[in-house]
Structure formats: C-alpha cells, structure tokens
C-alpha cells in the first residue's frame, strides 16, 4: 500500500500527489514512469514520474482526470492509500551536455518534462523551456519551470496570457531568432509531439519524444504498448518511453490510443452516475 501524503490541485482536473514510495524514489530517474492500480477492481495505468525526493522517500505524480481511473484517483485525499505502485519503469532520459536544449511541453506534459529540464540544466546545458496550454487558466507549473530553465516561454492557444500561439510557433520563433538548438525534448499530446518533430526535422535538430501508449503490465510482457520507430516495432514500456521523434509513427500511436474509446466512455458514465459528479470531485 502506498499513502498519499500531499494532494494539490494544479488546475482544472489536474492534480499532484506526493506518495510514500521510498524504494521507487531512491531509484527513479528523469523520464521514467510508474504504473498504479488504485483498488482490487482497478486497471493498471502508467504515469510519468514528475519528481522524486529520495531523502524523504517521496515520489510525485501529476495527472489529468481524463478517464474513470484518473477521476477516481482525483477523489482520493491525503492519508488515503493506493493499492499498487510499480516502478521505476522504462529507460531514463539520456541526460548529457548537448549545448542548448529546447524542452517543449503541452498541457500535463509540463510536469512530466520538469525533471528532465532540471537534469539537463544540472548537466550544464542552456535550457529553453517552451510550454503551451489552451488558455491562461490551464497554465501549470510556470514558476517551478522558471527555476530550472534559462528561458521560459509560455504560450496559450487563445492568447489569453498575452502570448498567442502553439508551442511549435514558439519553437520556430526561437530557431529563427538565430538560436542554435542542439537537442529538443518534447512531451505532451501525441499531435503536439508529432508537430514538434516535423518542425525540428526541417531544421535537423535531434528530437526526443516521450510516448504514452496504452500499457498493461509495463514490464515487456504484453506488447500492448507497441509503437513503430523507423519501421520497427518497439515496446514503449521497456524500449522507451523515449524515442527519436523523427522516426516515430505518430499516426499509428494516435490510432492505437483509441482502442478502448467506447469502453472508456462507458466506464466514465457509470462512474459519474455513481458519484453524482461531472468530473470526479474537484475538491
């Protein structure tokens, strides 16, 4: 059993938990993930590790309430327990001194790229953070990101924060102002990672993306997370989750993520009926 030590609401439907997980916290590296299962009937879902404080035995996860499991997770409070937490899984990010690195994230990709950006900064890189959201009310972790990067650009789709545009627009602006970017890391919705990769390919900037396919055991046993990279089938759970963005078949990933759309909708409807709420509990 894993206990929720601290719960914070970062934005609408986005929550941050600090969990007691001393052994995982000791081993976790940027780019890795955990799998959790809330209760006996629960499904196993992967979540990127947002931070780890090994001295305190604390592991941090941030999640958006998108399906039944994340909605139920969102209703849990400090002191509540989660039945299973497995990790750290996947290969860690390749952190070295590249020179100038762009860390690009969309939405809840921001807490996921945060430990990567911090590690890159610590490794001596000049780090430019570019984070994008639909509107200013959805902006996450702006202050935290500012602390670990050399420059932070926050964009909103509707311009409500005064900087209208997509993360790709911002990245292109940075490139066009003459910045030589040696590497790009992109984490977020699949379509965003695809667009970033298309852009950086044009400029020949090596790009790492963190893929988020459906997972089950997440130890290489089931193969549901298979993705195509350079025409080869890879298991994101053990071969990834990070891959060369210029070689990933994003369209296949987007299609495979829709496998259980019908079942997910059904589960959400039942859950909302049972708990009498629209989106888990916002509290």
């Amino acid at each position: 059993m894993v206990m929720i030590l601290k719960k914070q609401i970062l934005g609408p439907g986005v929550k941050r938990f600090e969990l007691t997980a001393p052994e995982i916290a000791r081993k976790a590296l940027p780019g890795q993930f955990v799998v959790l299962r809330i209760n006996e009937e629960g499904e196993r879902i992967p979540l990127t590790i947002a931070d780890a404080r090994p001295d305190e035995g604390v592991l941090v996860i941030v999640f958006q309430e998108v399906g039944k499991t994340t909605m139920l997770l969102g209703t849990l409070n400090e002191g509540d327990e989660i039945m299973d937490l497995i990790g750290p899984l996947g290969k860690p990010s390749e952190i070295e001194k590249f020179g100038t690195v762009a860390c690009v994230a969309g939405g809840v990709g921001t807490p996921e790229i945060y430990p990567v950006a911090r590690a890159l900064k610590q490794a001596g890189n000049r780090v430019i953070g570019i984070i994008g959201f639909r509107n200013k009310d959805l902006i996450l972790m702006e202050d935290e990101m500012k602390e670990v990067v050399d420059e932070l650009i926050v964009a909103t789709d509707d311009g409500s924060n005064g900087n209208k545009g997509l993360v790709t627009d911002m990245l292109e602006r940075v490139i066009e102002r003459g910045e030589k970017i040696d590497r790009c890391f992109a984490v977020g919705p699949v379509i965003m990672m695809k667009m970033v990769s298309l852009l950086t390919k044009k400029y020949n900037i090596p790009t790492v993306v963190s893929l988020n396919p459906i997972m089950l055991d997440a130890t290489g046993m089931c193969g549901v997370c298979r993705v195509e990279v350079d025409g080869q089938t890879k298991f994101a759970c053990v071969d990834g989750p990070e891959f060369d963005g210029h070689k990933v078949n994003f369209d296949l990933l987007m299609a495979r993520l829709k496998t259980y759309v019908k079942e997910e909708r059904e589960a959400v409807e039942i859950f909302q009926k049972e708990c009498g709420c629209e989106r888990g509990s916002r509290g």
Partner: protein, 455 residues
C-alpha cells in the same frame, strides 16, 4: 471426470471438470496395480510418490495421502489440473497399455481440493533455521517450488514478483476455466504459511538489480519465465484489435476484464476472432474468445493437427466448445478498416515438407493459395521468449542465442556465483511442471551451496 457440457461452458468462465466425489476417487485409486517398480514416478519431473498417495486414497485416508503429496509437491491442486499427465505419469502407467491409465492427475487434484474443505491443512516439516537468506525472483511455478523447498531446508526465503498478484503464468496466463484463480491463491497462501515472504509489485532489474539483491541475500534464484511475446513481423500486426496472447489472457485472467465494467480493465469482445498458433496458449485464447461472446473463434495453425504442441485434452475441449480449426494455414498480412481496426486476415495454404530441426514436418506455402478471412479480433499465440530485463542488468550472467539464461541443467547454476535459474527463462517457453522440476533441482544444489559455500 464429469464436466460442464460444452454448450453450457462455452458461455461461462467456471472450471470445466467438476472434480471427483470421494467415492469416485476411491474407486479410481483402487485401479492402481501398485507396481513394484512404479514407472509413473520416473515420469514425474518432481518425483511425487504416486503409488504411495494413491494407496492412501484407495483406503480413504485422504489426510495421509496429502501428507505424502506435500513431501514432494506443494502445488498439487495446480499440477493436478495443468500437468500434461498423458506424457508424464499417466503416459508411463502400465495400465495404459491395455486400458485407461490410472487418472493420477485427477486424484492429485482431488486430495488437494479435499484438503481445502478441511478445517486445517497439512503442514510441511521445516528444518531449523540456517540463518541463510535466499531471494527468488518471479513468483511463478519455478519460483514457488524453489521457495517451498528452500524453506523446508530451513532457509529464510523472499520472493520478488513484478506483478500485483503472485502466481506468474498461473495467474496471468492460464484461464479461470482451466485453473481457477482461487486455487492458485490457496496454494500460494500455503507457501506463504510455510514462512516464505512474497514482495509484490517488485520489478527486479529496475527497483533492484541482481547484484544489489546479492548484498542482502546469500543466493538468488531467477525464475522470471518467458514473458516476452513473439509476433510474426507481418504487415498490419499493429492494427487495432490485434493482440498478443499474453495481453489478451492477462486482461482476461489477471485483470478480470471479462467482468468489465465491474472491473476497470477493458477487453475487445470480438465477434469473429482468429487465434494464431497451435499450442496450449492458443487453445486458452480461442476458448476465452468464445466465453467473451465470439460467434466464431477460428484457430489458424500452419502445420497439421498431428504437429500441434497443445495437449490432446485441450485440443479436444476447444473443439467440443466449437473452436474452428483452420490447419495448414498461415497468416501473411492483416487488412484494416479506415480507422485502423483489423477487418481481415490474409492467409496462405500450407503443405508439409521434410522434417525440420524440431523433427516435425516443415510447413511449406502453396503458392497462389492466398485467401482472406473476415475477423474483428486477432490473437497472436506463437510463443514467448525470455524477458530481457534481468539478463540486461546483470553483468556476468551469460545468455544464450534466444535470450535464455545459460545454466547447468543438472544444478541450476548460472555463470554468476550465487545465482541460480530455472524454468522458462532457461528453457524457453515450456510447461508448469517442467519449471517446477527445474526449481526442485536448483533448490537442491542451492542448499548444497549455502551449506558448503562451494560454487
């Protein structure tokens, strides 16, 4: 043994055979000839005293029968159900030459299930503590056997299991209708009651390496099985609706997706399901598909029935339930609809040529024989290779060509001091009882090593 009728059982996940009544068990046990040199025992990878426990059943001494059983096998309810007895103990039974051999598996299952109805269970004798600590990686049949044996020798044993439930393939792979999960839990709990500790959700290779375990344990046994699913590498294998058998069965068995939405894990309830392969896992998947509501469950196998690796009983059960066998047929590609969902499988007819390395006649494609089958779900059950997580993170642990861990089969010793291995991680995918046999051998030599310190 009486069974649920095929027409009924193809719609439920309840166990197929009902099990013996005490009267039936006694009558069956009395058929045993009590051979002076019992060949059945030689046929058993864990050397169960078969005539001994059967003689007790014949006299109605079920408790004593169980006592004899547990000396050599702490998982009898499991073995009684899933061992291929026809090629082991029962295959060697003298009676089998003229008539039906003694139903040793059914009797084994009977006393184990009988014990479960009693207020107390038979305990194993455990030797005084040696002070030695043993780590067992993987809580499947090999790991559970090693753990049980090492505990009997008086060592302190901890099993590390990556999944959230113990049992390995017994829990995630073999379906409820063939091996009820309550039975697996019961026997795992027995191993626990012997004093074996089980750490769940513990991925060795990630959370701790073998070298890190060796800092706290005197010896390590690796029994992580063959968990990496093989695909055919044919076009369209990543379309939606194409599963590995591991995924399909894990969703259904471990995660109980057949009870969705009561349980949260979903599974595609295909109407026309193609299962690729001819082994026990393929039979399990094809029969699971029927229970999930398939109108057609089609098993596609590239050789003929004679070469099928599945147990005869499993093939028979599948056929009775209405699984269609499309033999001498091999898929060459999948075709999807506009959303990427599989809608057809294109196959080639095959014919049998000369024997190959396995001794079975090699299937050869008949050119121009392409045809398509309409499907909405495909399950690829062509085998597994060992999970590379531990070999990749353990310096000094040699692996073979197919990713198996190299070890001396007579002792279970690997190329790394203090580290033993057994089961599918060494042999590639095989059976529960062979993994248990390997566990038994490894436990013996591990005990020697811990007592003498000689590697």
């Amino acid at each position: 043994m009486k069974e649920q009728p095929p027409e009924v059982r193809r719609h439920n996940f309840d166990e197929v055979p009902y099990g013996y009544t005490p009267e039936e068990a006694i009558a069956e046990a009395q058929r045993c000839l009590k051979c002076k040199k019992p060949s059945c025992v030689d046929g058993c990878p864990v050397q169960v005293d078969i005539p001994g426990f059967i003689a007790q059943i014949a006299q109605g001494n079920f408790l004593e029968a169980m006592r004899i059983m547990k000396r050599t096998n702490v998982l009898p309810a499991i073995c009684g159900r899933v061992c291929p007895q026809e090629v082991q103990c029962e295959g060697a039974c003298i009676l089998g030459k003229k008539m039906e051999p003694v139903a040793i598996g059914n009797l084994e299952r009977f006393i184990a299930d009988w014990e479960a109805t009693q207020p107390e269970c038979v305990m194993c004798e455990i030797k005084p503590s040696t002070g030695k600590r043993v780590a067992v990686v993987g809580c499947g049949p090999a790991g559970l056997t090693v753990a049980g044996d090492m505990r009997k020798f008086g060592h302190d044993v901890t099993i590390f299991e990556a999944l959230h439930r113990p049992g390995g393939v017994l829990m995630y792979g073999i379906p409820e209708f063939r091996l009820p999960k309550a039975v697996v839990e019961r026997e795992v709990n027995f191993v626990r009651s012997m004093g074996v500790k089980i750490e769940l959700d513990y991925v060795v290779g990630k959370l701790k390496t073998i070298d890190e375990l060796l800092l706290n344990f005197d010896a390590v046994f690796i029994g992580t099985g063959a968990g990496l699913p093989l695909f055919m590498s044919i076009p369209g294998e990543n379309y939606l609706g194409v599963y590995s058998a591991n995924e399909y069965l894990t969703r259904s068995n471990l995660m109980k997706a057949y009870l969705f939405p009561k349980y949260d894990t979903p599974i595609v309830r295909g109407k026309r399901v193609a299962v690729i392969g001819g082994g026990n896992v393929a039979m399990d998947a094809a029969r699971t598909a029927l229970r999930l509501g398939a109108e057609r469950s089609i098993l596609i196998y590239r050789r003929s029935r004679n070469e099928m690796p599945a147990r005869a009983a499993e093939i028979h059960h599948a056929e009775e339930e209405g699984v269609e066998f499309m033999l001498l047929t091999n898929p060459v590609r999948y075709i999807a609809d506009g959303n990427g969902w599989v809608k057809e499988v294109e196959c080639l007819r095959m014919e049998l040529g000369e024997p190959d390395a396995s001794g079975r006649r090699r299937p050869v494609p008949v050119s121009g024989s392409e045809f398509r089958i309409e499907v909405d779900t495909v399950v690829v059950a062509i085998g597994n290779s060992p999970n590379p997580l531990i070999p990749q993170t353990t310096p000094g642990l040699e692996t073979g060509k197919k990713g198996t861990v190299v070890c001396d089969l007579k002792t279970g010793r690997t190329t790394k001091k203090g580290v033993f291995a057994g089961g599918d991680i060494v042999t590639g995918a095989a059976t529960v009882i062979l993994a248990m046999g390997a566990g038994r051998i490894a436990a013996g030599s591990m005990d020697d090593y811990l007592r003498t310190g000689v590697w």
